[in-house]
């Protein structure tokens, strides 16, 4: 038997929510639903980062009004951009700076760049650790902590810091699970199942 957990809908006291999460939820197409999904899915990560930056800007401005106005627009930080910022580990953050300048309509100050990088990295790290928590819970519940787990999804495939964060957290938890990227697995799998169904008939 295969169990589909639909863990995107998980919510509860063990899942702490930030004001940024409340803001993203309220502006979403399905408020008060899919709480866990809105903290780990690529669709929302850029929105959470933008909400964090707007909150921080209100308390201690470093970005300036033009950048803040840009951040307040829907999907000001698309996930590929967040990924690019979070994955720039260089000393000068030149690639991150270029990406953000384009998104926010102008170059950022050094403190502004640092804050954006931190927001993108924090959101990535939280999403990775929450995802790892879900995987760990699944494997522990199944009594199969050394399982081979098939992975798919653009976030895991293309956001290196995210995937590394998931793996590191699982290792930290003492789980020997192997995460195997299965690109386009969902599509190939549907075709295989359809083919098998055809043979069975």
């Amino acid at each position: 038997m295969i169990v589909n957990t639909e863990w995107g809908g998980f919510a509860g006291a063990s899942l702490p929510r930030l004001p940024a999460d409340e803001a993203v939820d309220a502006a979403s197409a399905n408020p008060r639903a899919q709480c866990f999904e809105k903290m780990v899915a690529g669709l929302y990560l850029g929105r959470v980062a933008a909400a964090l930056l707007l909150q921080a800007e209100a308390e201690a401005p470093v970005l300036g009004p033009a950048a803040a106005a840009a951040l307040a627009r829907p999907d000001a930080l698309p996930t590929p951009l967040l990924s690019r910022v979070a994955n720039d580990a260089s000393d000068d953050g030149a690639d991150a700076a270029a990406a953000l300048a384009e998104a926010l309509g102008g170059p950022l100050s050094a403190p502004g760049l640092a804050r954006c990088q931190e927001a993108c990295s924090l959101v990535t790290r939280r999403a990775a650790r929450l995802s790892a928590a879900g995987i760990a819970a699944l494997l522990r519940h199944a009594g199969d902590t050394d399982a081979t787990v098939a992975m798919d999804g653009g976030l895991f495939e293309h956001h290196a810091a995210f995937a590394a964060g998931v793996r590191a957290c699982l290792a930290e938890q003492g789980l020997g699970a192997t995460l195997r990227l299965t690109p386009d697995g969902s599509g190939v799998g549907a075709a295989l199942i359809a083919a098998a169904a055809g043979k069975a008939v």
Binding site: A29, L43, A147, V149, F162, G185, S186, L192, A195
Partner: protein, 137 residues
């Protein structure tokens, strides 16, 4: 053995995320037929990445839209029937043989290559649903 594979990725236009099921599935069917060819026959597996109440291998009703989809209808509708209707409207002889949740599809694909696989996880960027066509070759 998987001997031949061809794929194309298509983004769903933003306006279809807030339209009707008929419009969305008409688009999907059109792109499937464009990809597979108007004369294509054979079994089609439908990966649908939204929670469904699945009653048979080839039947499932949508429970609700997530991931930014906000169509005016959908919940309570059989998504296989929707795709079949849309394909028939284009005169396609493709046969929807299986409705598959994306994590189940990934699990099947991974186990096909490595039978040690026992779980699958999708950590995705956004919301694309896709149909995959299996040739009878």
């Amino acid at each position: 053995m998987l001997t031949w594979r061809q794929s194309e990725e298509v983004a769903i236009p933003a306006e279809l995320l807030a339209g009707t099921c008929a419009q969305l599935f008409a688009f999907i069917a059109a792109r499937v037929v464009a990809f597979a060819g108007a004369e294509a026959t054979g079994a089609l597996g439908f990966t649908f990445s939204f929670a469904c109440s699945q009653t048979a291998l080839d039947a499932g009703t949508l429970l609700g839209w997530t991931k930014g989809f906000r169509l005016s209808d959908g919940p309570g509708l059989d998504v296989v029937a929707l795709l079949r209707t849309a394909l028939a409207a284009r005169g396609s002889a493709l046969s929807v043989a299986a409705l598959v949740n994306d994590t189940v599809g990934t699990l099947a694909a991974a186990r096909y290559a490595d039978t040690r696989t026992s779980a699958s996880v999708i950590l995705g960027t956004g919301a694309l649903s896709e149909a995959r066509w299996v040739s009878q070759r």
